[in-house]
Symmetry: C2
Subunit: 486 residues, 2 copies
């Protein structure tokens, strides 16, 4: 949001030789540099276990990575690598290694006349977090003469108590305004588009409440299965992989009150309020599923239990449908249905807001014809856009109503959006925490799903290439609703 | 609306050899016949002054007219003419001629075993109405063994007192349910589309009030000038030609409350209520204009005073912009701006509903940027459709709002609509008065504009090919509003 130029700083990546660094962070940082948004004095210090790397060979790797990302490595991108990339070995993470790191950082800062602004990006598996925070603390790396920011990739914990423990640990050394918990699924554009849609368009905000809305459906459908991530997914399942983070983020953005300002904490306060207003979930509020073999996009695909590194009798769910009740003045009585799954017919992220029917129909009141509800469909993936379904009279002597849509699609008007990491890194550099998950928010989100995380309910089978098990339809039918056909 | 088949009847056209009969009524009646909606026993009796015509030569004329209208006259259309067309001379309209007409009708009804259902369509200049009603009354033609319906083309009167006098006269012989005052400008589809849009779509009805709407603009722009109708127009002017009928009809449809049913009188009751809620207009509420020479669609065109059969110093206005205040619970404080003119840049009929701005902007609150109002544009001519303008975030680091539209256009989904006369005649045959203007409605509409009809205010000059005189902008600027760019 801010136009402030990023201040000169050192950008330290732990996990500096990994996939995330090469595929996402380096290209995004270079992109920012070409746009003048990565201060020219700034440095990048990659840290990893590899003791055989040095600044020169690290730069060579970086050049290759930028080349693969589409930047010709021989020209300015190559020069940029030579100018601002450095490498530091960190072995098993003993105290002396963090002191060495601190000394290297101080040395580089002095050499390049930097004011002590530091980003520490943890591009490492979550298990590494506790020892790093501890090591940083011992070596005094949690503060500096300038600002110090700690970037933590998701997942943050695997349930409420582990997230609480992690937060306690992080807060021993870092204050919350220093901590940036990434949930990159929601790119900045998507979040801002949603907030602009809601709070710059009073016609919709007028309708956005229990008097006008019948139910809200949030679907995040994946066409892909587990692929080669069976080992990860067996530990995770759909709740940790998708529901606690992505769907819950969408829920908060759809349901939140208008914040007083467009500042990070004003927005995050409202998101947390939503989570705290959700009534405790019970077994009757959720349906879990696990895909069996079937056809997706015309191709035969195996079932989840046949995937590699998956137990043949695993109960881990790959699909969830949930009913959440947001018990506040705005939403009491309006069910929020969340649904996500792997191996569904196609990749699609949609928010469907179904409005209440007219109280009476003055058209053909004796006929069995019912007026369709007005429905607003906000599509986030694969193509962002809005479809507002409304009733139109079909031409002819009789009053025959048909549902059509008023629509708008970003792609018709705007060019392709920048990569999510470019905007995320930019926000980190200017200190905008809006898109990052606050400690109370991540805990509240874990807290919501505790009953299911603890109980491991048995999933219903659903055929790959379908919209989930029939029981997921039953969840809505109990309330007299149905999933909006996607 | 009703699927009821039209009952067998005799369809009498006074002015049966005129342009309206040949270009509109005959083709529409034949079209209905081919659709089985003009009962096969029914007859058409053309009446005119021409004493040399007879049934046979009248049928020949009718065949030619149907041929010109695109129906091959030799086949079934020709047979249809032979089967159901008759001709009767009516001279200057003396009492004996109406008795002769009555006798002829009785004879045809007996011959064809008709139950006495009669339509009298007055396809004649309005001046003929009083003597016809009188003659009908004297000859007993205002009632029959079946139903009798009197169809009156617009204009109905030329001001309030003349309309009252005409109504008094008509009501001496006919009851209001027998009388069908045509204002064919609003085709049935348009009216029904508007009512369906409003009353089948609660999301819009929710917004349709003084809390949410800032102002309403109704524009009926004509590209044409006076053409060869200078003689008529000098007597009429823009108020009688367009405002009292077409624009006022649109106003009532936009502003009316939801009727209890979709029946003619329920709807007309609500329309009249709107007219009766309009505050008296004063000189400050209107701007009149008269076009001078200019360019329309790239062609140089003369000014109104240079048109044929127009007085060189005529004060007759060809443009009007008006501000109406509908003082009821729904609309108090919401100005309705009406605008119409000849020789404007293009032919366009649009209703523009501008909603109120958000109470505060949480985006860049310190910036001078103001959020655009949401605007709903309902286009009626030339292409029916809806455009809902709303704010979208343009991609990029800063919050930049752009106004785009959600849109729907009938032409993208539906085939071309039937001719308005087909639906109007169909409604007459089944006795649906919804589209026809009731006596109190026509009087209320005349009453609204009385100050200007009596005072003949001086018009402002505007160049042909523009949206009217600058003073028309001033009318809105006084309220802090502006015409939505069309």
């Amino acid at each position: 949001m801010s136009e402030t130029n990023a201040e000169p700083h050192i950008f330290v990546v732990l996990g500096g030789t990994g996939d995330l660094m090469h595929r996402k962070l380096l290209p995004a940082l270079y992109r920012l540099a070409t746009q003048g948004l990565f201060h020219e004095q700034s440095l990048i210090l990659g840290c990893a276990r590899n003791a055989e790397l040095n600044d020169a060979s690290f730069r060579t790797l970086a050049r290759e990575a930028l080349g693969k990302a589409g930047f010709p490595a021989r020209d300015t991108a190559g020069n940029w690598c030579d100018q601002c990339l450095y490498y530091q070995t960190i072995g098993k993470g003993g105290p002396e290694e963090y002191r060495t790191l601190a000394a290297r950082i101080a040395e580089l800062e002095q050499k390049h006349n930097l004011p002590g602004n530091r980003v520490f990006y943890l591009a490492l598996p979550p298990a590494a977090l506790p020892s790093i925070v501890h090591g940083f603390g011992e070596a005094g790396l949690h503060h500096s003469a300038g600002w110090t920011r700690l970037i933590i990739e998701k997942p943050f914990g695997h349930d409420l108590s582990s997230a609480q423990e992690l937060n306690r640990l992080v807060h021993e050394r870092f204050t919350e305004p220093q901590v940036y918990r990434i949930d990159h699924y929601l790119g900045k554009e998507t979040v801002q588009n949603l907030l602009v849609f809601r709070f710059a368009n009073p016609i919709f905000e007028t309708l956005w409440n229990r008097d006008r809305v019948e139910n809200v459906q949030i679907t995040v459908a994946e066409e892909l299965g587990i692929e080669d991530r069976g080992g990860y997914y067996e530990q995770s399942g759909v709740l940790r992989d998708m529901v606690q983070n992505h769907l819950t983020q969408l829920l908060t953005l759809v349901a939140m009150e208008v914040p007083g300002t467009f500042q990070a904490d004003a927005i995050r306060n409202e998101k947390v309020k939503v989570l705290n207003s959700v009534l405790p979930l019970g077994p009757e509020d959720a349906v879990f599923g696990q895909y069996t073999q079937g056809k997706v996009a015309g191709k035969h695909v195996p079932g989840y239990r046949q995937e590699s590194r998956v137990a043949p009798d695993t109960p881990v769910p790959t699909f969830a449908a949930l009913k959440l009740s947001v018990s506040n003045w705005r939403w009491q009585g309006v069910p929020f249905y969340l649904r996500t799954g792997k191996r569904m017919p196609r990749r699609l992220t949609q928010i469907v807001v179904t409005f209440r029917c007219p109280p009476v129909s003055i058209f053909q009141p004796t006929d069995s014809y019912l007026i369709h509800s007005n429905v607003l469909v906000i599509t986030i993936q694969p193509e962002e856009g809005f479809d507002l379904y409304f009733e139109v009279k079909a031409p002819g002597q009789t009053i025959t109503l048909e549902r059509h849509s008023l629509d708008f699609h970003y792609g018709d008007v705007f060019a392709k959006l920048p990569d999510a990491y470019v905007t995320l890194l930019r926000d980190i550099l200017v200190g905008d925490q809006t898109l990052f998950v606050r400690s109370d928010e991540v805990e509240a989100a874990w807290g919501l799903y505790r009953p299911f995380l603890e109980a491991s309910p048995q999933p219903h089978a659903y055929e790959a290439g379908t919209w989930g098990p029939p029981a997921a339809d039953g969840l809505l039918e109990k309330d007299g609703h149905e999933w909006f056909p996607l």
